[in-house]
Amino acid sequence: MNEVVEIENVSFRYEDHFVLENVFLTVNEGDFLGVIGPNGSGKTTMLKIILGLLHPSSGQIRVFGRSPRHARHLLSYVPQNAQIDRLFPVSVQDVVLMGRLGASKAVGRYRSSDVKVAHKALAEVDLDDLSDHRLGTLSGGQRQRVLIARALASQPRLLLLDEPTSSVDSRVELGFYELLKKLNETVTILLVSHDLGFVSTYVNRVACVNRRLVVHRITEITGGEIKGDLYDEPMHRIEHVCRI
């Protein structure tokens, strides 16, 4: 099996304060990995280290066997919905085309092939008919799918998502995970969430983060008995108690 992400003994700290400490993690091709942890546990920091936006204070990280900066064209990112300004006057198609920035020419308009890829990505998330609409007029769930389409437009081999369902209701959330499951047939997925919720039904492994990191196979969790303890509070929906 090919290793997509290898994190080896990575620590990250702001001055004296450790956000991540001695973290080991391997993500294999085809994985659907859920990274779970409470607010401030370091999970978003870990995501940004994989993306190459932050650099570890110590330790090694390889993404597709390269440094994260040099692997950027192989991965794509879906940020939290709340990070996006709803009033920004931009059409759905223009947002998705941003996923083609890295592949398109440096100056002037996008190529027609880029527009084609963008429409294909929109079709994959079932939003092709809304491509001319202004982003702000869409529902929260639709906007989230636009951001997925934008990530898909760059044709990544690894898709990273940060709290993708934090602002949608549970019906939309379920449809959303069904979509990710379908995408997982071709793309490796790493999904960050503050609770297990529906994630547990779809992922094959769970990494619990709270400064340190413990990986569970999903069968261990649904089995009910977990070794390692990471958290003080029980996780939502699934009785998974981790304590560090």
Partner: protein, 293 residues
């Protein structure tokens, strides 16, 4: 107002003023759109006010104040750009300080300049009637620079304004594009200072774009609409102020501000009425469905 259009054909200084106003609307509509969409009017205000330092220094050295303004605006854009990219904390404090220091330096330079005292009010509040033919050429040249750069880097500017982080992951040189954008804002500020002066420049930069934002579906539409609105405000401000001899800059801003408020009220009422209509439609659909059964 009628008087303005009657004398327009015979008075070349009014034609020059009108041309300057229309050319300024173009820069104002295109760049104002970015300022409003990316919500950086405070940063733009910092650039605008720091300009007085450059104007004062140029005046002190007996150079063209407009050239001093351009140099100061570009320097301020670079400094503020680097600060806002590097220092996450105290960004607003540093911009506020630069804002005030620029103005204070300008006033000191002007007060120390020997000989005829320039009318400080015309820097602060603009004097479009005094715009010369050379100024118009400079404004036209700067317009061309703005349009060419925006056309070349339209998709990068959009991506950086919408989501800097994602743009960076796509390999866009975000820092460069951001500082280039602030440079274009600086150029626009210098153009608009001719029309409404330093104090009112942010209003002219943001009000037409803010109205346009309520109706546009994308950035390009917003730019076109904001340019048209800016032109309408500048022309009507000139026309209204001419007869009773009011300050043109302030008149332009009052008209823009009034339209902005009216537009907000209109939009709010529109939303309420359309949501009520939807409600009625739903009800009648419901009744129809009930009748079908």
């Amino acid at each position: 107002m009628v008087e303005f259009f009657q004398v327009l054909s015979s008075q070349s200084f009014l034609q020059t003023a009108l041309t300057a106003g229309l050319l300024a609307s173009l820069a104002c509509g295109v760049i104002g759109t970015y300022v409003v969409a990316k919500r950086i009017s405070f940063i733009s205000g910092g650039i605008a006010h720091a300009v007085l330092g450059g104007m004062g220094l140029a005046y002190f050295w007996n150079l063209n104040p407009l050239h001093g303004a351009l140099a100061a605006a570009l320097c301020a854009a670079l400094i503020i750009g680097v600060i806002s990219l590097r220092a996450e904390q105290h960004e607003d404090t540093i911009i506020g300080a630069l804002w005030a220091i620029g103005m204070a330096a300008g006033i000191l330079f002007i007060s120390r300049t020997p000989g005829y005292k320039v009318d400080l009010m015309s820097y602060l509040f603009g004097n479009i009637i005094m715009v010369t033919r050379e100024d118009v050429y400079l404004i036209a040249g700067l317009d061309v620079v703005i349009l060419v750069l925006v056309l070349l880097f339209y998709k990068q500017f959009l991506a950086v304004c919408f989501d800097e982080e994602f743009a960076r992951l796509q390999g866009v040189p975000v820092d460069f594009i951001y500082i280039l954008l602030l440079g274009l804002i600086a150029v626009t500020v210098v153009i608009l200072i001719q029309v409404v002066g330093i104090i009112l420049v942010i209003a002219l930069l943001t009000l037409p774009a803010a109205i346009a934002q309520q109706y546009a579906r994308n950035l390009a539409q917003m730019m076109i609409l904001a340019t048209v609105l800016g032109a309408v405000f500048v022309i009507s401000g000139l026309a209204v102020s001419y007869g009773p001899d009011l300050p043109a800059g302030a008149t332009i801003i009052i008209i823009s501000g009034t339209f902005y408020i009216l537009s907000m009220i209109f939009k709010a009422l529109h939303v309420r009425v359309s949501s009520r209509l939807n409600h009625v439609n739903l009800k009648s659909n419901h009744n129809n469905n009930a009748a079908d059964l």
